[in-house]
Amino acid sequence: MNLPSALVRFDDARPRALTIARDVAAEGANVLLVRDVLGRFALIVDDRAQDVPTARAAVWRERLATDLQRYSADRPLLLASELFSADDLLGSERAQPDPLHIPAAGHGSVLILDNTVVGEDWAQVSTPAVETDGSRTHRTALYGFKGGVGRTTAAAVLARHLTDQGHIVLVVDLDLESPGAGPLIAAGSVPPRHGIVDQLVESAVDNANGLELVGPTGYEPRTGRGELWVAPARGRDTKDVPYSYVDKLNRVYADIPGMDFADRLATAVQACEDAVARESESGRRPDVVLLDSRAGIHDIAAVAISRLCDLALLFGADNRQTWGGYGDLFTAWHASGQARAIREKLRMVASMVPDTPHHSMDDYLQSFREHSWECFSVLYDDDVPEAESGRLIPGAFSPSLEDDSAPHYPIPILFEPGLVGLDADRAPGWQDRAFVQAAYRDFLTTATLLITADPQSNEGPR
Protein backbone atom coordinates (compact mmCIF):
# COMPACT_ATOMS: atom_id res chain seq x y z
CA MET A 1 0.00 0.00 0.00
CA ASN A 2 1.32 3.47 -0.86
CA LEU A 3 1.27 5.87 2.06
CA PRO A 4 0.90 9.59 1.43
CA SER A 5 4.29 11.28 1.48
CA ALA A 6 3.71 13.34 4.60
CA LEU A 7 1.89 11.45 7.30
CA VAL A 8 1.34 13.59 10.39
CA ARG A 9 2.85 11.90 13.44
CA PHE A 10 2.34 12.71 17.12
CA ASP A 11 5.21 15.22 17.31
CA ASP A 12 4.13 17.03 14.14
CA ALA A 13 0.60 17.59 15.40
CA ARG A 14 1.23 19.97 18.30
CA PRO A 15 3.07 22.72 16.40
CA ARG A 16 0.55 22.48 13.56
CA ALA A 17 -2.40 22.70 15.93
CA LEU A 18 -0.84 25.66 17.75
CA THR A 19 -0.30 27.48 14.47
CA ILE A 20 -3.99 27.12 13.64
CA ALA A 21 -5.02 28.12 17.17
CA ARG A 22 -2.93 31.30 16.93
CA ASP A 23 -4.34 32.13 13.49
CA VAL A 24 -7.89 31.76 14.79
CA ALA A 25 -7.08 33.88 17.85
CA ALA A 26 -5.67 36.54 15.53
CA GLU A 27 -9.22 37.00 14.20
CA GLY A 28 -10.31 38.16 17.65
CA ALA A 29 -11.75 35.25 19.64
CA ASN A 30 -10.19 33.57 22.66
CA VAL A 31 -9.44 29.91 21.93
CA LEU A 32 -8.68 26.77 23.91
CA LEU A 33 -6.74 24.00 22.22
CA VAL A 34 -7.56 20.63 23.80
CA ARG A 35 -5.42 17.55 23.26
CA ASP A 36 -7.15 14.31 24.25
CA VAL A 37 -5.56 11.24 25.83
CA LEU A 38 -4.74 9.80 22.41
CA GLY A 39 -3.05 13.01 21.29
CA ARG A 40 -5.87 14.31 19.06
CA PHE A 41 -6.66 18.02 18.97
CA ALA A 42 -9.90 19.95 19.17
CA LEU A 43 -10.12 23.73 19.09
CA ILE A 44 -12.74 25.43 21.23
CA VAL A 45 -13.55 28.96 20.07
CA ASP A 46 -15.18 31.28 22.60
CA ASP A 47 -17.93 32.88 20.51
CA ARG A 48 -20.12 33.85 23.45
CA ALA A 49 -19.25 37.53 23.27
CA GLN A 50 -18.88 37.72 19.51
CA ASP A 51 -20.55 35.55 16.87
CA VAL A 52 -18.37 33.49 14.58
CA PRO A 53 -19.69 33.37 10.99
CA THR A 54 -20.56 29.84 9.94
CA ALA A 55 -18.33 30.12 6.89
CA ARG A 56 -15.27 30.96 9.03
CA ALA A 57 -15.94 28.06 11.36
CA ALA A 58 -16.19 25.73 8.37
CA VAL A 59 -12.84 26.96 7.03
CA TRP A 60 -11.10 26.40 10.41
CA ARG A 61 -12.72 23.00 10.84
CA GLU A 62 -11.51 21.92 7.41
CA ARG A 63 -8.00 23.21 8.08
CA LEU A 64 -7.76 21.35 11.39
CA ALA A 65 -8.87 18.10 9.77
CA THR A 66 -6.52 18.50 6.80
CA ASP A 67 -3.42 19.68 8.67
CA LEU A 68 -3.69 17.27 11.59
CA GLN A 69 -4.97 14.17 9.77
CA ARG A 70 -5.31 11.36 12.37
CA TYR A 71 -4.51 13.82 15.14
CA SER A 72 -7.64 15.89 14.63
CA ALA A 73 -10.49 15.01 16.99
CA ASP A 74 -13.82 13.62 15.77
CA ARG A 75 -15.19 17.13 16.21
CA PRO A 76 -12.11 19.28 15.58
CA LEU A 77 -13.81 22.67 16.00
CA LEU A 78 -16.23 23.45 18.82
CA LEU A 79 -18.02 26.72 19.51
CA ALA A 80 -18.36 27.58 23.19
CA SER A 81 -21.96 28.76 22.67
CA GLU A 82 -22.94 25.23 21.70
CA LEU A 83 -21.27 23.44 24.62
CA PHE A 84 -22.80 22.24 27.88
CA SER A 85 -19.56 22.74 29.75
CA ALA A 86 -17.87 25.72 28.10
CA ASP A 87 -17.08 27.34 31.47
CA ASP A 88 -15.60 24.14 32.88
CA LEU A 89 -13.34 23.72 29.86
CA LEU A 90 -12.37 27.35 29.25
CA GLY A 91 -11.96 28.00 32.97
CA SER A 92 -10.14 24.75 33.74
CA GLU A 93 -7.30 25.08 36.25
CA ARG A 94 -5.36 22.71 34.08
CA ALA A 95 -5.45 24.97 31.03
CA GLN A 96 -2.12 26.73 30.48
CA PRO A 97 -1.43 29.81 28.38
CA ASP A 98 0.47 29.15 25.17
CA PRO A 99 4.05 29.98 26.30
CA LEU A 100 5.10 31.25 22.86
CA HIS A 101 2.06 33.39 22.08
CA ILE A 102 2.02 37.11 22.76
CA PRO A 103 -1.36 38.35 21.54
CA ALA A 104 -1.31 41.57 19.58
CA ALA A 105 -4.00 44.22 20.09
CA GLY A 106 -7.40 42.91 19.07
CA HIS A 107 -6.24 39.30 19.09
CA GLY A 108 -7.73 36.66 21.36
CA SER A 109 -5.73 34.56 23.82
CA VAL A 110 -4.58 30.96 23.31
CA LEU A 111 -4.91 28.39 26.11
CA ILE A 112 -3.80 24.77 25.94
CA LEU A 113 -5.42 21.91 27.83
CA ASP A 114 -3.41 18.72 27.68
CA ASN A 115 -5.06 15.47 28.76
CA THR A 116 -2.84 12.54 29.60
CA VAL A 117 -3.40 9.21 31.28
CA VAL A 118 -0.57 9.74 33.78
CA GLY A 119 2.08 12.32 34.51
CA GLU A 120 0.05 15.51 34.69
CA ASP A 121 1.69 16.48 37.97
CA TRP A 122 4.99 17.22 36.25
CA ALA A 123 3.37 20.36 34.88
CA GLN A 124 1.97 21.60 38.22
CA VAL A 125 4.98 22.97 40.09
CA SER A 126 4.43 24.52 43.52
CA THR A 127 6.26 24.90 46.82
CA PRO A 128 4.98 23.53 50.13
CA ALA A 129 3.31 26.10 52.34
CA VAL A 130 4.38 26.95 55.87
CA GLU A 131 2.67 24.78 58.52
CA THR A 132 -0.36 26.19 60.29
CA ASP A 133 1.70 26.84 63.44
CA GLY A 134 4.20 28.89 61.43
CA SER A 135 6.90 26.22 61.52
CA ARG A 136 8.40 24.91 58.33
CA THR A 137 9.17 21.35 57.45
CA HIS A 138 12.04 21.09 55.02
CA ARG A 139 11.11 18.41 52.56
CA THR A 140 13.83 17.06 50.31
CA ALA A 141 13.10 14.61 47.52
CA LEU A 142 15.86 12.23 46.47
CA TYR A 143 15.34 11.16 42.89
CA GLY A 144 17.24 9.31 40.22
CA PHE A 145 16.11 9.06 36.64
CA LYS A 146 17.58 5.54 36.61
CA GLY A 147 17.56 3.16 39.56
CA GLY A 148 20.72 1.67 41.00
CA VAL A 149 22.56 4.95 41.39
CA GLY A 150 22.83 4.86 45.19
CA ARG A 151 19.89 7.13 45.97
CA THR A 152 18.45 5.13 48.89
CA THR A 153 21.87 4.49 50.44
CA ALA A 154 22.57 8.22 50.26
CA ALA A 155 19.20 8.92 51.90
CA ALA A 156 20.14 6.62 54.79
CA VAL A 157 23.57 8.23 55.29
CA LEU A 158 22.14 11.74 55.03
CA ALA A 159 19.31 10.96 57.46
CA ARG A 160 21.73 9.86 60.18
CA HIS A 161 24.00 12.82 59.57
CA LEU A 162 21.09 15.26 59.96
CA THR A 163 19.98 13.42 63.11
CA ASP A 164 23.50 13.87 64.49
CA GLN A 165 23.07 17.60 63.88
CA GLY A 166 20.09 17.59 66.26
CA HIS A 167 17.23 17.50 63.75
CA ILE A 168 14.04 15.47 64.01
CA VAL A 169 14.35 13.55 60.76
CA LEU A 170 11.68 11.50 59.00
CA VAL A 171 12.49 9.36 55.99
CA VAL A 172 9.43 8.47 53.89
CA ASP A 173 9.79 5.54 51.52
CA LEU A 174 7.84 6.60 48.43
CA ASP A 175 9.44 3.97 46.23
CA LEU A 176 6.20 2.02 46.43
CA GLU A 177 6.92 -0.33 43.52
CA SER A 178 10.32 -1.27 44.93
CA PRO A 179 10.56 -0.27 48.58
CA GLY A 180 14.05 0.04 50.03
CA ALA A 181 14.51 2.98 52.35
CA GLY A 182 12.26 1.46 55.01
CA PRO A 183 14.21 -1.77 55.54
CA LEU A 184 17.59 -0.07 55.08
CA ILE A 185 17.01 2.70 57.60
CA ALA A 186 14.99 0.69 60.11
CA ALA A 187 17.49 -2.21 60.12
CA GLY A 188 17.60 -3.70 63.59
CA SER A 189 14.35 -2.10 64.78
CA VAL A 190 10.75 -3.28 64.59
CA PRO A 191 9.03 -1.61 61.64
CA PRO A 192 5.66 0.08 62.20
CA ARG A 193 2.49 -1.94 61.75
CA HIS A 194 1.43 0.02 58.65
CA GLY A 195 3.02 1.64 55.63
CA ILE A 196 2.28 4.41 53.14
CA VAL A 197 0.19 1.99 51.04
CA ASP A 198 -2.01 1.32 54.07
CA GLN A 199 -2.54 5.04 54.56
CA LEU A 200 -3.52 5.41 50.88
CA VAL A 201 -6.04 2.55 50.79
CA GLU A 202 -7.53 3.17 54.23
CA SER A 203 -7.96 6.92 53.74
CA ALA A 204 -9.85 6.26 50.49
CA VAL A 205 -12.59 4.63 52.58
CA ASP A 206 -12.26 7.14 55.41
CA ASN A 207 -10.62 4.61 57.69
CA ALA A 208 -7.14 6.06 58.28
CA ASN A 209 -7.59 6.86 61.97
CA GLY A 210 -5.34 4.90 64.27
CA LEU A 211 -2.86 3.67 61.67
CA GLU A 212 0.67 3.18 62.93
CA LEU A 213 2.59 4.80 60.08
CA VAL A 214 5.98 5.67 61.53
CA GLY A 215 8.53 3.96 63.72
CA PRO A 216 11.62 5.09 65.58
CA THR A 217 14.74 3.55 64.07
CA GLY A 218 16.58 3.09 67.33
CA TYR A 219 19.43 5.24 66.04
CA GLU A 220 21.14 7.12 68.86
CA PRO A 221 22.65 10.32 67.56
CA ARG A 222 25.99 11.69 68.65
CA THR A 223 24.24 14.65 70.21
CA GLY A 224 21.26 14.23 72.48
CA ARG A 225 18.41 15.98 70.68
CA GLY A 226 18.10 14.43 67.26
CA GLU A 227 15.59 11.71 66.35
CA LEU A 228 15.45 9.46 63.29
CA TRP A 229 12.04 8.16 62.20
CA VAL A 230 11.01 6.08 59.25
CA ALA A 231 7.74 5.75 57.36
CA PRO A 232 8.08 2.59 55.27
CA ALA A 233 6.09 1.86 52.12
CA ARG A 234 5.07 -1.54 53.44
CA GLY A 235 3.81 -2.36 56.89
CA ARG A 236 4.67 -5.32 59.11
CA ASP A 237 3.44 -8.89 58.66
CA THR A 238 1.29 -10.25 61.44
CA LYS A 239 0.48 -13.82 62.35
CA ASP A 240 -3.29 -13.57 62.01
CA VAL A 241 -3.92 -11.76 58.70
CA PRO A 242 -1.80 -12.01 55.56
CA TYR A 243 -0.41 -8.67 54.37
CA SER A 244 -1.49 -8.16 50.74
CA TYR A 245 1.01 -5.60 49.51
CA VAL A 246 0.33 -6.02 45.80
CA ASP A 247 -3.45 -5.87 46.19
CA LYS A 248 -3.06 -2.56 48.02
CA LEU A 249 -0.45 -1.16 45.66
CA ASN A 250 -2.77 -1.83 42.72
CA ARG A 251 -5.31 0.55 44.25
CA VAL A 252 -3.25 3.44 45.54
CA TYR A 253 -3.32 5.45 42.30
CA ALA A 254 -7.10 5.79 42.24
CA ASP A 255 -8.51 9.29 42.11
CA ILE A 256 -11.36 9.61 44.58
CA PRO A 257 -14.09 12.28 44.59
CA GLY A 258 -12.52 15.62 45.45
CA MET A 259 -8.98 14.21 45.72
CA ASP A 260 -6.73 13.18 42.91
CA PHE A 261 -3.70 10.98 43.47
CA ALA A 262 -1.40 13.97 44.09
CA ASP A 263 -3.67 15.27 46.85
CA ARG A 264 -3.81 11.82 48.39
CA LEU A 265 -0.04 11.38 48.38
CA ALA A 266 0.42 14.83 49.92
CA THR A 267 -2.06 13.88 52.66
CA ALA A 268 -0.23 10.61 53.28
CA VAL A 269 3.12 12.35 53.78
CA GLN A 270 1.47 14.89 56.07
CA ALA A 271 -0.11 12.05 58.06
CA CYS A 272 3.35 10.53 58.61
CA GLU A 273 4.71 13.88 59.81
CA ASP A 274 1.77 14.26 62.21
CA ALA A 275 2.37 10.72 63.46
CA VAL A 276 5.95 11.59 64.45
CA ALA A 277 4.71 14.52 66.54
CA ARG A 278 2.15 12.22 68.17
CA GLU A 279 4.45 9.31 68.91
CA SER A 280 7.74 11.01 69.70
CA GLU A 281 8.59 11.46 73.37
CA SER A 282 9.70 14.98 72.57
CA GLY A 283 6.30 15.69 70.95
CA ARG A 284 8.09 17.56 68.16
CA ARG A 285 7.21 17.50 64.49
CA PRO A 286 9.98 16.48 62.12
CA ASP A 287 11.82 19.52 60.84
CA VAL A 288 13.55 17.60 58.07
CA VAL A 289 11.74 15.08 55.85
CA LEU A 290 13.54 13.05 53.23
CA LEU A 291 11.31 11.61 50.50
CA ASP A 292 12.92 8.63 48.83
CA SER A 293 11.12 8.94 45.51
CA ARG A 294 10.95 6.16 43.01
CA ALA A 295 13.05 6.34 39.87
CA GLY A 296 11.93 7.11 36.36
CA ILE A 297 9.28 9.33 34.82
CA HIS A 298 6.48 8.24 37.10
CA ASP A 299 3.63 9.94 38.94
CA ILE A 300 5.13 9.46 42.40
CA ALA A 301 8.27 11.26 41.30
CA ALA A 302 6.14 13.92 39.60
CA VAL A 303 4.21 14.65 42.79
CA ALA A 304 7.27 14.43 45.06
CA ILE A 305 9.40 16.78 42.96
CA SER A 306 6.81 19.19 41.56
CA ARG A 307 4.70 19.61 44.65
CA LEU A 308 5.85 18.01 47.90
CA CYS A 309 9.46 19.15 48.23
CA ASP A 310 11.34 22.41 48.45
CA LEU A 311 14.57 20.74 47.32
CA ALA A 312 15.01 17.88 44.86
CA LEU A 313 18.38 16.15 44.70
CA LEU A 314 18.73 14.58 41.27
CA PHE A 315 21.05 11.57 41.22
CA GLY A 316 22.87 10.31 38.21
CA ALA A 317 26.02 8.95 36.63
CA ASP A 318 27.79 10.63 33.72
CA ASN A 319 26.31 8.59 30.89
CA ARG A 320 24.01 8.92 27.93
CA GLN A 321 20.96 7.43 29.64
CA THR A 322 21.18 9.86 32.56
CA TRP A 323 21.37 12.96 30.37
CA GLY A 324 18.84 11.63 27.88
CA GLY A 325 16.32 11.04 30.66
CA TYR A 326 16.84 14.35 32.44
CA GLY A 327 16.81 16.07 29.04
CA ASP A 328 13.35 14.68 28.30
CA LEU A 329 12.09 15.73 31.72
CA PHE A 330 13.53 19.26 31.49
CA THR A 331 12.10 19.65 27.99
CA ALA A 332 8.65 18.78 29.30
CA TRP A 333 8.97 21.32 32.15
CA HIS A 334 10.08 23.95 29.69
CA ALA A 335 7.23 23.19 27.26
CA SER A 336 4.64 23.47 30.03
CA GLY A 337 6.03 26.84 31.17
CA GLN A 338 7.41 25.50 34.47
CA ALA A 339 11.13 26.14 33.95
CA ARG A 340 11.41 29.15 36.27
CA ALA A 341 9.49 27.51 39.10
CA ILE A 342 11.18 24.11 38.98
CA ARG A 343 14.82 25.20 38.65
CA GLU A 344 14.51 26.80 42.09
CA LYS A 345 14.26 23.35 43.62
CA LEU A 346 16.77 21.27 41.71
CA ARG A 347 20.31 20.23 42.48
CA MET A 348 22.35 17.60 40.69
CA VAL A 349 24.20 14.85 42.56
CA ALA A 350 26.98 12.88 40.86
CA SER A 351 26.36 9.73 42.81
CA MET A 352 28.82 7.22 41.35
CA VAL A 353 32.07 9.15 41.07
CA PRO A 354 35.14 6.99 40.41
CA ASP A 355 38.52 7.95 41.84
CA THR A 356 41.23 5.60 40.65
CA PRO A 357 44.79 6.03 39.39
CA HIS A 358 43.49 5.80 35.81
CA HIS A 359 40.36 7.82 36.26
CA SER A 360 40.59 10.77 38.57
CA MET A 361 37.61 12.26 40.33
CA ASP A 362 38.44 15.72 38.93
CA ASP A 363 38.39 14.55 35.31
CA TYR A 364 35.14 12.71 35.83
CA LEU A 365 33.47 15.66 37.52
CA GLN A 366 34.67 18.06 34.81
CA SER A 367 32.94 15.94 32.18
CA PHE A 368 29.86 15.50 34.39
CA ARG A 369 29.62 19.24 34.93
CA GLU A 370 29.76 20.01 31.22
CA HIS A 371 27.07 17.47 30.37
CA SER A 372 24.94 18.63 33.28
CA TRP A 373 25.22 22.29 32.27
CA GLU A 374 24.25 21.45 28.71
CA CYS A 375 21.25 19.50 29.98
CA PHE A 376 20.10 22.16 32.48
CA SER A 377 20.45 24.95 29.91
CA VAL A 378 16.89 24.09 28.80
CA LEU A 379 15.70 25.41 32.17
CA TYR A 380 18.01 28.44 32.24
CA ASP A 381 17.20 31.77 30.63
CA ASP A 382 18.85 32.67 27.35
CA ASP A 383 21.91 34.85 27.87
CA VAL A 384 21.59 36.45 24.45
CA PRO A 385 20.67 40.16 24.37
CA GLU A 386 17.14 41.14 23.37
CA ALA A 387 16.95 41.90 19.66
CA GLU A 388 15.26 45.30 20.04
CA SER A 389 17.24 46.78 22.92
CA GLY A 390 20.52 44.92 22.73
CA ARG A 391 20.32 44.41 26.51
CA LEU A 392 20.22 41.18 28.45
CA ILE A 393 16.83 40.27 29.86
CA PRO A 394 16.66 41.90 33.30
CA GLY A 395 16.85 39.35 36.09
CA ALA A 396 17.76 36.55 33.68
CA PHE A 397 18.95 33.40 35.43
CA SER A 398 21.78 31.94 33.43
CA PRO A 399 24.54 30.57 35.67
CA SER A 400 27.95 29.80 34.22
CA LEU A 401 29.46 26.33 33.93
CA GLU A 402 31.66 26.91 36.98
CA ASP A 403 28.98 28.45 39.25
CA ASP A 404 29.17 26.05 42.19
CA SER A 405 25.82 27.11 43.61
CA ALA A 406 23.90 26.45 40.37
CA PRO A 407 21.43 23.58 39.94
CA HIS A 408 23.63 21.82 37.38
CA TYR A 409 26.79 21.86 39.52
CA PRO A 410 27.17 18.30 40.82
CA ILE A 411 27.56 17.37 44.47
CA PRO A 412 29.87 14.34 44.40
CA ILE A 413 29.51 10.96 46.10
CA LEU A 414 32.38 8.53 45.55
CA PHE A 415 31.47 5.16 44.07
CA GLU A 416 31.87 2.37 46.62
CA PRO A 417 31.43 -1.17 45.27
CA GLY A 418 31.20 -2.38 48.88
CA LEU A 419 27.83 -0.61 49.26
CA VAL A 420 26.15 -2.11 46.18
CA GLY A 421 23.41 -4.50 47.26
CA LEU A 422 24.19 -3.94 50.93
CA ASP A 423 22.27 -6.08 53.42
CA ALA A 424 21.99 -3.67 56.32
CA ASP A 425 20.78 -6.37 58.71
CA ARG A 426 24.08 -8.20 58.35
CA ALA A 427 26.33 -5.17 58.36
CA PRO A 428 25.56 -3.21 61.52
CA GLY A 429 27.45 0.05 61.80
CA TRP A 430 28.20 0.15 58.06
CA GLN A 431 27.71 3.89 57.98
CA ASP A 432 30.53 4.51 60.45
CA ARG A 433 33.22 2.87 58.34
CA ALA A 434 35.97 5.23 57.20
CA PHE A 435 35.47 4.51 53.49
CA VAL A 436 31.79 5.38 53.75
CA GLN A 437 32.52 8.60 55.59
CA ALA A 438 35.06 9.56 52.91
CA ALA A 439 32.70 8.76 50.05
CA TYR A 440 29.91 10.96 51.41
CA ARG A 441 31.87 13.81 52.98
CA ASP A 442 31.21 16.48 50.32
CA PHE A 443 27.64 15.35 49.82
CA LEU A 444 26.79 15.55 53.53
CA THR A 445 28.29 19.01 53.91
CA THR A 446 26.59 20.52 50.86
CA ALA A 447 23.23 18.74 51.22
CA THR A 448 23.00 19.73 54.89
CA LEU A 449 23.64 23.37 53.96
CA LEU A 450 20.99 23.27 51.25
CA ILE A 451 18.43 21.57 53.49
CA THR A 452 18.91 23.66 56.60
CA ALA A 453 19.31 27.02 54.86
CA ASP A 454 16.11 29.00 54.72
CA PRO A 455 14.08 27.37 51.99
CA GLN A 456 13.16 29.55 49.08
CA SER A 457 11.03 32.24 50.55
CA ASN A 458 8.57 34.61 49.01
CA GLU A 459 11.18 36.30 46.91
CA GLY A 460 9.86 34.54 43.84
CA PRO A 461 11.78 32.51 41.33
CA ARG A 462 15.18 33.70 40.31
Binding site: V37, V118, A254
Partner: protein, 171 residues
Protein backbone atom coordinates in the same frame (compact mmCIF):
# COMPACT_ATOMS: atom_id res chain seq x y z
CA UNK B 1 1.12 1.08 36.52
CA UNK B 2 -2.57 0.84 35.90
CA UNK B 3 -4.91 3.58 34.94
CA UNK B 4 -5.54 3.12 31.28
CA UNK B 5 -9.02 1.76 31.69
CA UNK B 6 -10.40 5.15 32.65
CA UNK B 7 -9.81 6.32 29.13
CA UNK B 8 -11.62 5.79 25.88
CA UNK B 9 -10.22 3.09 23.66
CA UNK B 10 -10.20 5.20 20.55
CA UNK B 11 -12.28 6.96 17.98
CA UNK B 12 -15.94 6.03 17.75
CA UNK B 13 -16.89 5.68 14.11
CA UNK B 14 -19.94 7.56 12.91
CA UNK B 15 -21.79 4.26 12.52
CA UNK B 16 -21.09 3.06 16.05
CA UNK B 17 -23.79 2.72 18.72
CA UNK B 18 -21.88 5.10 21.01
CA UNK B 19 -21.87 7.74 18.27
CA UNK B 20 -25.65 7.45 17.92
CA UNK B 21 -26.20 7.47 21.69
CA UNK B 22 -24.05 10.61 22.03
CA UNK B 23 -25.97 12.55 19.41
CA UNK B 24 -29.36 11.28 20.56
CA UNK B 25 -28.55 12.41 24.11
CA UNK B 26 -28.05 16.01 22.98
CA UNK B 27 -31.18 15.94 20.80
CA UNK B 28 -33.38 14.60 23.59
CA UNK B 29 -31.99 17.17 26.00
CA UNK B 30 -32.59 20.12 23.67
CA UNK B 31 -36.11 18.97 22.88
CA UNK B 32 -36.81 18.50 26.58
CA UNK B 33 -35.68 22.04 27.34
CA UNK B 34 -37.86 23.32 24.48
CA UNK B 35 -40.87 21.47 25.85
CA UNK B 36 -40.29 22.49 29.46
CA UNK B 37 -39.87 26.15 28.50
CA UNK B 38 -43.20 25.83 26.67
CA UNK B 39 -44.88 24.36 29.73
CA UNK B 40 -45.19 20.86 28.22
CA UNK B 41 -43.98 19.08 31.36
CA UNK B 42 -44.85 15.39 30.89
CA UNK B 43 -43.04 15.07 27.57
CA UNK B 44 -40.20 17.32 28.76
CA UNK B 45 -39.71 14.91 31.66
CA UNK B 46 -39.82 11.96 29.29
CA UNK B 47 -37.06 13.39 27.09
CA UNK B 48 -34.81 14.41 30.03
CA UNK B 49 -34.83 10.76 31.03
CA UNK B 50 -33.88 9.65 27.54
CA UNK B 51 -31.13 12.28 27.35
CA UNK B 52 -29.50 10.89 30.51
CA UNK B 53 -30.00 7.30 29.43
CA UNK B 54 -28.32 7.91 26.07
CA UNK B 55 -25.40 9.88 27.55
CA UNK B 56 -24.72 7.14 30.10
CA UNK B 57 -24.96 4.42 27.46
CA UNK B 58 -22.45 6.35 25.36
CA UNK B 59 -20.10 6.52 28.38
CA UNK B 60 -20.60 2.85 29.25
CA UNK B 61 -19.67 1.77 25.73
CA UNK B 62 -16.62 4.05 25.62
CA UNK B 63 -15.17 3.64 29.10
CA UNK B 64 -16.28 0.29 30.49
CA UNK B 65 -16.50 -3.34 29.42
CA UNK B 66 -20.11 -2.89 28.29
CA UNK B 67 -20.79 -3.96 24.69
CA UNK B 68 -23.50 -4.04 22.02
CA UNK B 69 -22.23 -7.31 20.55
CA UNK B 70 -24.74 -10.13 20.09
CA UNK B 71 -25.40 -11.76 23.45
CA UNK B 72 -24.75 -15.20 22.04
CA UNK B 73 -23.92 -17.09 18.88
CA UNK B 74 -26.40 -16.59 16.07
CA UNK B 75 -28.23 -13.85 17.96
CA UNK B 76 -28.80 -10.35 16.53
CA UNK B 77 -26.92 -7.27 17.82
CA UNK B 78 -27.95 -6.34 21.35
CA UNK B 79 -30.67 -3.72 21.85
CA UNK B 80 -28.90 -2.14 24.82
CA UNK B 81 -25.39 -2.14 26.31
CA UNK B 82 -24.71 -5.26 28.34
CA UNK B 83 -21.89 -6.54 30.47
CA UNK B 84 -20.55 -10.04 29.97
CA UNK B 85 -19.84 -12.16 33.01
CA UNK B 86 -16.06 -12.54 33.10
CA UNK B 87 -16.30 -16.29 33.72
CA UNK B 88 -19.23 -17.51 31.64
CA UNK B 89 -19.34 -14.72 29.03
CA UNK B 90 -23.12 -14.63 29.48
CA UNK B 91 -25.07 -11.45 30.20
CA UNK B 92 -24.44 -10.38 33.77
CA UNK B 93 -26.28 -7.07 33.41
CA UNK B 94 -28.24 -5.37 30.65
CA UNK B 95 -28.70 -1.60 30.63
CA UNK B 96 -32.16 -0.91 29.34
CA UNK B 97 -34.30 2.07 30.31
CA UNK B 98 -33.93 4.19 33.43
CA UNK B 99 -34.20 4.05 36.37
CA UNK B 100 -30.88 2.38 37.01
CA UNK B 101 -29.27 1.61 40.31
CA UNK B 102 -26.28 3.95 40.42
CA UNK B 103 -24.26 1.38 42.32
CA UNK B 104 -24.62 -1.07 39.41
CA UNK B 105 -22.97 1.40 37.06
CA UNK B 106 -20.29 2.30 39.60
CA UNK B 107 -19.26 -1.35 39.78
CA UNK B 108 -18.15 -1.16 36.16
CA UNK B 109 -15.67 1.62 36.67
CA UNK B 110 -12.08 0.78 37.32
CA UNK B 111 -8.84 2.58 36.67
CA UNK B 112 -7.81 5.94 38.00
CA UNK B 113 -10.22 8.63 37.05
CA UNK B 114 -13.67 7.41 37.88
CA UNK B 115 -14.39 9.96 40.58
CA UNK B 116 -16.35 12.26 38.28
CA UNK B 117 -18.54 9.49 36.93
CA UNK B 118 -19.23 8.21 40.43
CA UNK B 119 -20.21 11.72 41.53
CA UNK B 120 -22.58 12.15 38.57
CA UNK B 121 -24.12 8.75 39.16
CA UNK B 122 -24.87 9.76 42.73
CA UNK B 123 -27.45 12.17 41.31
CA UNK B 124 -29.18 9.48 39.26
CA UNK B 125 -31.60 8.98 42.11
CA UNK B 126 -33.46 12.01 40.73
CA UNK B 127 -34.71 9.55 38.08
CA UNK B 128 -35.80 6.84 40.51
CA UNK B 129 -39.44 7.81 39.97
CA UNK B 130 -39.01 8.25 36.20
CA UNK B 131 -40.45 5.57 33.95
CA UNK B 132 -40.49 4.96 30.23
CA UNK B 133 -44.16 4.05 30.65
CA UNK B 134 -45.01 7.71 31.29
CA UNK B 135 -45.70 7.96 27.57
CA UNK B 136 -48.86 5.87 28.03
CA UNK B 137 -50.11 7.79 31.06
CA UNK B 138 -52.25 10.90 31.45
CA UNK B 139 -49.36 13.03 32.66
CA UNK B 140 -50.93 14.16 35.94
CA UNK B 141 -48.27 12.39 37.98
CA UNK B 142 -45.51 14.63 36.64
CA UNK B 143 -44.58 17.36 39.14
CA UNK B 144 -42.89 20.58 38.09
CA UNK B 145 -40.28 20.36 40.85
CA UNK B 146 -39.26 16.88 39.72
CA UNK B 147 -38.83 18.02 36.14
CA UNK B 148 -36.68 20.97 37.20
CA UNK B 149 -34.48 18.72 39.31
CA UNK B 150 -34.14 16.20 36.49
CA UNK B 151 -33.21 18.98 34.09
CA UNK B 152 -30.36 20.00 36.42
CA UNK B 153 -29.09 16.44 36.73
CA UNK B 154 -29.41 15.86 32.99
CA UNK B 155 -27.44 19.03 32.31
CA UNK B 156 -24.63 17.83 34.65
CA UNK B 157 -24.47 14.38 33.09
CA UNK B 158 -24.49 15.77 29.57
CA UNK B 159 -21.69 18.19 30.50
CA UNK B 160 -19.65 15.29 31.92
CA UNK B 161 -20.34 13.29 28.78
CA UNK B 162 -19.31 16.19 26.55
CA UNK B 163 -16.04 16.71 28.41
CA UNK B 164 -15.28 13.01 28.34
CA UNK B 165 -15.63 13.06 24.56
CA UNK B 166 -13.43 16.16 24.19
CA UNK B 167 -10.74 15.12 26.69
CA UNK B 168 -10.86 11.42 25.95
CA UNK B 169 -11.16 10.59 29.62
CA UNK B 170 -13.56 10.85 32.53
CA UNK B 171 -12.10 13.81 34.34
Amino acid sequence: MSGTSGTSSGAASTASPEHHYAHAAVRHYKDAVYLQDGGRLPNADYHFGFAVECALKSLLLRFTSATMAPTGQGKPAAKAPWVPDPVTGKVSRMYGHLPWVAADVALLTHGRSTAQLSAALGNLKAFDSWSVHQRYLDGTAVAEADVSQRRTVAQEILALHEQALINGRLQ
